[in-house]
Amino acid sequence: MTPLLAASPSITALTAAELRELLRRREVSAADAWQAYMSRAAALDPALRAFLEIAGDTPEVPGAPWETHPLLGGVPFALKDNICARGLFCTCGSRILEGFRPPYDATVTVRLREAGAMLMGKTNMDEFAMGSSCEHSGYFATANPWALDRVPGGSSGGAAAAVAADMTAFALGSDTGGSVRQPASFCGIVGLKPTYGLVSRYGLVAFASSLDQIGPLTKDVTDCALVLSAIAGHDPMDSTSARVAGEDYTRYLVPDIKGMRLGVPREYMGEGIEPGVRAAVERAVAGLNGMGAEVEECSLPHTEYGVATYYIIAPAEASSNLARYDGVRYGHRAGGARAGATTGAMTGAGAGTGAGGDLDLAAMYERTRSEGFGAEVRRRIMIGTYVLSAGYYDAYYLKAQKARTLVKQDFENVFARFDALVTPTAPTVAFPIGAKTADPLQMYLNDVFTIPVNMAGLPGISIPCGLSEGLPVGLQLIGPHMGEPTLLRLAYAYETASGIRHPRPAAVNAAVAAAEAIRAAGGVGGVAK
C-alpha cells in the first residue's frame, strides 16, 4: 500500500464493480481500498458532514477471506445510521439514542460482511428517517456535494452524499416514503427501494413497519445489482420477509429493452413539477422510446391521495414504534442516570416531580421523550397518536387503510398493461438548506411521487437522467411486485445508452482539490470523528 495511492482519488473514483475487478486482479489490495476511501471520507466530511461515525482502524486484516469474496470482497461501504452494526453506535440521527451501541447486527449487515464488504461507518439521516432533507438530524445537517448550500435529500441524505462524493463505494439506506430514491435523485446517484419483503428489515430501526424497506445507494446500476444480490432473500428473523431466495441480479444487466411496455402516469407529470425536471424526464422518456420501448401515457387516479394516506399510516405506526424510547433500557434519560435532581421548568401533562424533588416515572417519560426527540419526530408522534386514538381511528386510520387499497389497486390496474412505469423521482431538484423547514406540509409534498410506491409495496429505482440548473434530476422507474429484474434491465439500458453514469459534482472536485492542496502543504487532512 503506497501513501500516494491512498491519497489519490483514483481508487475512490471507481465503482464497486470496477474496484472488485482490480482487487480480483490483485492490482490493488483491500487495505489500499480501505485506506483510499477512509482518507477521502476524512478529507471531505468536514465540508459535507455525511457521516455520524467513521470506524477506527481497518476492521479486518488484509488477506482475510473477505478480500477474495467474488461479490463485494474488499469493497468499503457505509450504513445509514438506522441500520444496526455490532460495535458501532446506532443513533438514527436522534439524541434519544445518543451513545447506544446495539449488541447485534442487522441481517443486511451480516450479509454484506459475509460478502466481504468492509463497513466504514454510519451516515447522517433525518431523525428516525422522518424527513426529506437530512435537516431533521438531531446532530447536524448534511450538505449536497453538488452545491454545499443545498440539501442532499432525505432521509438517507448522508448515505447519498457520501456515495455521490466518492467517500464510500456504496451505502445502504432505508426507504419508507422515498428516503432512498429522493436523496439518490438529489445527489445524482442510483437508489433502489426493493419490493417490500425482498430485503430483511431485521436490525433496521423501524419507522413505519409496513412501509420500511432497506435499499442500496450506489454509483451506478451495475453496483445496485451487485449489492442487491448480496442483501436480498428470505430471512427467518423477519416475519414479513418474502419466501424468495437471493439471486445474482447482475444477470439482468442487459442493454436491450426492445418491446418493453412503459407507462407514463399523467398524474406524475402535472403541475408542481419544476420545468427543468420535467424537461429532463421527457428527454429520458423519449430516449427510452428511441431504444425500442413502447411508451404510453397511463393514469394512477388516486395519486393525489397518496401523501395524505401516507401521513396517517406512517405516523400511526411510528407513534407505536417509537414508544420504546422511554429512558428505561437504553438511550437518553432525562435528569441523568438516577433521574434524581429537579432541573428545568418543563411543564408535564399531569406529571411532575415527586414530593422529594425526584422525577416520578410519568415525568421521566415525558421529559426523556421531549428532550430526546426533535420537533419533526414529536409532530409525527402526535399525529400518529391522534389518528389512532379513540373516536378518530375510523375517520383517519381505517380510512387511510382503505385509501391504501385504492392506491395499490391503481398500480395493479396499470401493471396489467405495462412492464414498468417511468416518472420523475421528485418534483424538484435539491432545494436550498432551510427552504422548507418552516412548512412541514411543503416538505411532505416533495415525496408525492415516491410515497405511492411504498404504499403498494412495489420496487422503485431512481437513476440520474441529466441536470437542471446544474443539479441532478432523478428518473424513477416503478415495477410490479418482485419486478427488480425488469427495473435493473431498464435502468442499465438507459444508463448505457444515455451515458449518464455517476456524474461528478464539480463542488466535490473542488473540495477534493482543496483538501489535497492542504495535505500537500503539510497540513492535516480531515479527521475522522
Partner: protein
C-alpha cells in the same frame, strides 16, 4: 373535519408521553391542524366497499419459529446501555398515582 383544540392536543401529548409546553402550544396546535386539514382530504374518497390494507403484500403463509431455546444476552450485555441499573435489573423511578 373539525379542528383540534388545545385541550385535545394536550390529551394526545399525555397519551404519547410528550411534555406539554404552554408557550409553544399554539404553534403546535396550528401545525397539527394544518396537517390534519390536509390528511382529511381522504374524506372525499368513497371507500364504502373498499377493504383495508394493513400489509403491502398479501402474505399467505404462516411464519413460525420452532420452540427451541437459544442463548440470548448475558446480564452485563443486557444492562450495558441502561441509564440506571441495580442488582442485575433496570432501575426506574417508581410509578406514582394512577396514570
Amino acid at each position: 373535519m373539525p379542528a383540534v383544540s388545545a385541550a385535545q392536543v394536550r390529551h394526545v401529548a399525555a397519551l404519547a408521553r410528550l411534555s406539554w409546553d404552554e408557550r409553544s402550544a399554539p404553534k403546535l396546535v396550528g401545525e397539527l391542524n394544518e396537517i390534519l386539514a390536509y390528511i382529511s382530504k381522504l374524506s372525499e374518497l368513497d371507500t364504502a366497499d373498499v377493504p383495508p390494507t394493513s400489509h403491502a403484500l398479501d402474505l399467505r403463509d404462516n411464519v413460525l419459529r420452532e420452540d427451541e431455546p437459544r442463548k440470548g444476552l448475558a446480564q452485563a450485555e443486557a444492562l450495558a446501555d441502561a441509564p440506571d441499573s441495580e442488582a442485575g435489573m433496570f432501575r426506574v423511578p417508581r410509578v406514582v398515582g394512577g396514570q
